[in-house]
Every structure is written in C-alpha cells, then in structure tokens.
C-alpha cells in the first residue's frame, strides 16, 4: 500500500462498466494502475498466477458468468495467500441480506454502482481514500456501505 501507484484489479463482465471504471480512474487525482478480468474464473486464475505480485485492491462485481463475486470472495478469504487482499464489492443491486452476508464473508466495502458518471468517479475515489486510511482492517458494519452522500466526510 505504500507504493506510489495503487494497483487495482477489477473483475467485471460488462464492457461498458469496465470502460466507465477505467475512465473514472484516469480522471481522479490518485495514481493508479488498472488490470481488468472479465469473470470470476479469470480473476481467481490471475490471483493464483500472480500471487507474488498481488494487487492492492480488488473491485469485484457480483453477477458474473462462470464464477460469481460471492464465490470469488469466499475463495479469496479462505486462501492463506490471498485473504489479506481488500475486496470492494461493486454491485448493481442493493439487498440488505446480501450486503450482510458479504460483510460476514470478509468484504472490505460495498458500493452500489451509481447512475451518474460524476458520482461513479466520486465513489471510487472515496473508496480508494478509505482503503488508504483504514489499510486492510474491516470497517464496522455501519461503515461497510459507501454512499456518495457521505463523501463530504472524507
């Protein structure tokens, strides 16, 4: 985490969402390097193959083909080599039960994908700042879901 550039790994099956993410990262004032994978299977293969050079943060979509975000999160948290990786869930829908389960399974933060690009950018920047502050300890349940509204706190 002390590197000058944050290495981010995005697991997202939707091309448009990958493009938005890439565009947002380029516009925020934090130096980052983005690697993308298109589904859960690719994500896990990437992590096992690059276990000596792991990313600083993973942004994980939930609904993905082959292996979904839920399965990936469990696998990451059960692996001794990978369980320290902060995983931010990046999802279209928001369901309280699902969010609770993700928190229990060890996700770092939950973000509901916003419908406006400006908010999309803000929330990514906000989550990167939080990760930098909190390092890898899981926040309290009340602070698990990041929303644009409380962006002023940062």
């Amino acid at each position: 985490m002390n590197t000058i550039q944050l290495n981010i790994l995005l697991a997202e099956d939707d091309q448009d969402d990958r493009d938005f993410f890439d565009k947002a990262l380029k516009e925020i004032p934090i130096p980052t390097h983005l690697t993308t994978v298109n589904d859960g299977e690719q994500l896990m293969n990437y992590l096992y193959e690059n276990s000596e050079h792991l990313p600083d943060i993973i942004f994980l979509d939930l609904n993905m083909p082959r292996k979904n975000g839920f399965e990936c999160l469990s696998e990451i948290k059960l692996s001794k080599k990978l369980n320290q990786l902060p995983v931010i869930i990046f999802s279209t829908s928001f369901e309280q039960e699902v969010v609770n389960q993700l928190y229990q399974n060890g996700a770092q933060y939950f973000i509901r994908k916003p419908s406006e690009f400006s908010q999309f950018k803000k929330i990514i920047q906000q989550s990167l700042a939080l990760i930098a502050q909190e390092n890898i300890s899981q926040p309290t349940r009340e602070n698990f879901v990041i929303t644009v509204q409380n962006s002023l706190i940062i």
Partner: protein, 156 residues
Amino acid sequence: MNDKEKTKEEWAAELIIANKELETFLYSVSHDLRTPLRQISMYVDLLTNRFYDSLPDKARHYLDNIADSSRRMSTLIDDLLQFSCTGLQEMRQTNLDMNIIVQEVLAPIKQDNRERNIEWRIWAEAEPDKGATFYFLLSKNDSASFNVGFQNAIDY
C-alpha cells in the same frame, strides 16, 4: 389425513413454490433491466456534463428527455423490485390513516400535473375508529404500489 386434506396441502405447497419462483423471476428481471438503464444514465451524464454547451438546442432537449425517461424507468424498476420482495416480508396488522397516505402519494403527482385541470376529490367511506381494517405490508417503500396505481389512474 384423508385425501381431501392431502390435496389441499399439496396445492398450498405448489402455490408457495410458484410464488417463490415468481419473486425470483421478478428480481432477476429488474436486476437485469437496471444494468443497461444505469449505463444509459451514465452516458447521458457524460454527454450533459461535457458537451451540453456545444450541442444545438434541439439536441439538448432530446438529451433532457432521455434523462427524464431514464429516471422514470429507474423508479418503475425500483417499484417492481420492491414489489417482488414483498412476499418475503412478514405481515403485521396495524391501523393506518388512509388520508395521510393518500395525501403523501398525491403531492408529487399534483406537482407533476399542475398544468392539467384535474379536480381531486378525496373522501372517507368509513368513520374513524369504526372503519374497515386494511392489511398492508409495511416496508421501506410504503407508497410505491399506491403511487403506481394513482399514476395509472390519471394517465388513462
């Protein structure tokens, strides 16, 4: 247990499964609908924030309309999603003042239709304290289903 009771139980079990399937279907439909819609909104936001000034008036007008329609669609999907979750919640009995609910739901509709000449008549069929008991599923979005009903009523 006689045959008649058995059939009834089986029927109830099948109905529960069918309802569950419908909820799952509604949930996945509304989730899948939300993704492309959110992306439309994102592109509209990008276009608006970056190119609005350089667009001709007509193009701006079209863009505003796309944004409005996207927002409306989004509300409809939220309502659908909310509705699909209602079966998962427990029922509880309570007293509600229908006048308050009606006023709350009407306020934004009146605002949206202020240019139309609509006469609103609201009256109570039942006396307070003696009125009919209504059963509602209380959830975060209490007004959603009422809202859709009222909206359709004035649209058609």
